[in-house]
């Protein structure tokens, strides 16, 4: 069973791609709900099987999941799930920041700005941020005992953790001040007092063309009024990440390159001040114990022999590497299950099989 702090309200599952983060987030959700808590699991991109298991709909709304209760088992807990809709989440963020400050017309103007559209949807970069603002939104709503976030399937978690900082730059006083001159003026840049800035803008114009600058200035002019509330919102998101009530759970796989990456990630995360409390090594081939090696050897099936030995060497490697994770984290393993059985019952089993190493 996985240990979670008494005061913890937020769990963030991180890890490199393809290690089963989403399933793990859902398993922890099911397990904790069965202990009587009210849980929300926020996912990014669930597999079809998991979506079916949890009844997930990609609409960005909250849905209640039926818990797998054994005969006679009772719980007051609830499990809710939500697949984040990035476009909706970003729009919610903008509208929230604008509330009471900017008119609907102004907000719509921003939503139609080409750079905004690229920022929110077409191009990369905002998935990390929208996950975070959605997390923040539900944590502060106080509707749940726990909110569990499955982070974006990025190769590295850095970009997720840097999201608030990057977006904060967007509302940074420095940039907006470039464009804060009278919007009506046809000679926007002539008014800029600082000669250095003027030269920088000139260089930028040379690189990108005046149209880009125009779009950019329209974008910053549009957001300047509600820059402060948005900045505060971003700051609060960042505070949530470093809060004492937030725990990070690192999910990783068994092969050496994954373990090495997990090691790097766990060190980096700790030095940056995030509370990484648990490392889960997922899909450990527990079934190896049941294999009769004499029989396999006698079988003379070369390929099967190689594969079984390979899994065995992965396990040995794990034993060697386990000490490289800090003593400040609890290290767990979770068994490998057959791929065909992903339903809520399976998630419950999954949670139960999490075992401290």
């Amino acid at each position: 069973m996985i240990q979670i702090g008494k005061d913890t309200k937020t769990l963030i599952c991180i890890g490199t791609g393809g290690v089963g983060k989403t399933t793990m987030a859902a398993s922890i959700g099911v397990g904790l709900a069965l202990t009587g808590k009210k849980i929300l699991v926020l996912t990014i991109d669930p597999s079809k099987r998991l979506a079916q298991a949890l009844g997930l709909k990609p609409d960005g709304d909250l849905h209640m999941v039926t818990l797998p209760l054994a005969a006679g088992e009772n719980t007051s807990g609830e499990l809710w799930s939500c697949v984040i809709d990035h476009k909706k989440a970003f729009e919610h963020f903008i509208r929230e920041g604008a509330r009471g400050i900017a008119s609907d017309e102004k907000v719509n103007q921003l939503l139609q700005n080409k750079l905004y559209q690229q920022l929110s949807g077409k191009l990369s970069g905002s998935q990390d941020f929208t996950s975070l603002i959605t997390l923040y939104r539900y944590v502060i709503s106080n509707q749940f005992d726990f909110v569990i976030l499955d982070t974006p399937p990025a190769q590295h978690t850095w970009s997720f953790l840097q999201a608030p900082e990057k977006i904060a730059h967007l509302f940074n006083d420095g940039i907006t001040s470039w464009f804060r001159e009278d919007a009506q003026s046809s000679s926007l840049f002539k008014k800029i007092l600082n000669a250095g800035t003027a030269q920088v803008l000139k260089a930028l114009e040379l690189l990108t063309g005046s149209e880009f600058i125009r779009e950019l200035s329209a974008f910053f002019l549009a957001i300047q009024k509600w820059q402060k509330p948005l900045e505060n919102y971003v700051m609060n998101c960042h505070r949530l990440l470093i809060s004492q009530q937030t725990e990070f759970v690192l999910v990783t796989g068994l092969d050496p390159s994954r373990l090495k990456e997990a090691e790097k990630l766990s060190n980096e995360i700790r030095t940056q001040g995030y509370r990484l409390t648990s490392v889960i090594i997922n899909r450990v081939p527990e079934w190896l114990i049941s294999v009769d090696f004499k029989k396999v050897n006698a079988n003379k099936n070369l390929r099967l022999n190689q594969i079984i030995q390979y899994y065995q060497s992965l396990e040995n490697e794990l034993q060697k590497r386990i000490h490289s994770f800090s003593s400040r984290q609890n290290v767990y393993k979770c068994h490998e299950f057959s791929q065909t059985t992903e339903h809520v019952q399976q998630l419950k089993e999954n949670f139960k099989s999490i075992q401290r190493l």
Partner: protein, 290 residues
């Protein structure tokens, strides 16, 4: 001059970096000079390929293959220096903290700069590149499409000026089947296969590109092979065998050509690469005709 650019993509965790390294090595065996480059923010190859150092400037890895790591910022700097020419103006531009954060947040600028670098050699724009082919260990599926689409998106937003013009010329090369080659790595699991199918559709629809698919880490066992194992072991292995058959069936049904890569039962990267090179060299269809 660079004649071909190979992008390697796929869902996270499927073995993109391994396949990119494998392709770089394979092409170099045909006496070509190859630059293998990774787009990750934190280098994966440094540890994986056991290199001392990895940076924007290429480092030798194997005979005929150099390795480097590109960030959007590096690419943009090089481009800016090339265009602005005046070093002082360039320094003023990049050393200004506000510019730095602007580069950070301006949507798509970083992706565009990377695509600019990938196509700089045939466009004769920027410093010369002494390689025949580029192999790019690119982003995972979603971000990869954003990368590939960034020049077109920018060209639509910015119609005039040097940026619009550049974006159009980059986009043209992306659509040139002689120049741009895309390799998708997948595992025989539901999510990566679904992503592969969707990516193939998008590539066909938006770029008219037909990618090469690699079905990675195959057990290549049959139900008979595992019939004497314990019930528990059979349960797991049979479900994997079934998943492998299913994946092949789905790819075939969608008329997608794919290359099978076995799970190499070794923990050492050089050994894994050697085994796969041997496998692919015997293959009647080499991954990409040179």
């Amino acid at each position: 001059m660079v004649k071909k650019a190979h992008f390697v993509t796929g869902k996270g965790g499927v073995g993109k970096s391994l396949v990119a390294a494998l392709l770089a090595r394979l092409y170099s065996l045909k006496t070509q000079q190859i630059l293998l480059t990774e787009l990750a923010e934190i280098s994966f190859y440094k540890d994986y390929l056991n290199l001392n150092e990895i940076s924007y400037t290429p480092t030798p890895w194997m005979p005929g293959v150099d390795v480097s790591q590109w960030s959007g910022e590096d690419c943009l700097k090089e481009y800016a220096l090339h265009l602005l020419k005046v070093k002082k103006l360039y320094e003023l531009f990049f050393e200004n903290p506000v510019t730095r954060s602007l580069v950070d947040v301006a949507p798509g600028l970083s992706e565009l700069a990377i695509m600019g670098k990938v196509t700089s050699s045939p466009r004769r724009h920027g410093p010369a590149m002494d390689y025949d082919q580029l192999v790019i260990d690119a982003f995972a599926t979603g971000h990869f499409l954003a990368l590939l689409g960034s020049p077109r998106a920018m060209a639509e937003t910015i119609k005039f000026g040097p940026m619009g013009e550049q974006s159009r010329s980059i986009d043209k090369l992306i659509r040139d089947p002689q120049y741009t080659h895309i390799h998708i790595v997948t595992l025989a699991e539901e999510l990566p296969i679904t992503e592969t199918l969707e990516l193939c559709q998008s590539l066909k629809k938006d770029f008219a590109i037909t990618p090469t698919i690699y079905l990675n880490k195959l057990l290549q066992l049959s139900a008979k092979d595992v019939s004497e194992l314990s019930a528990k072991a059979q349960d797991i292995l049979l479900s994997e065998i079934e998943a492998e058959e299913n994946a092949k069936k789905i790819l075939k049904k969608n008329k997608l050509h794919f290359i099978e890569l076995p799970l190499v039962t070794s923990l050492s990267t050089p050994e894994i690469l050697e085994a796969l090179i041997a496998q692919l060299s015997h293959h009647s269809h080499s991954p990409e005709p040179l």
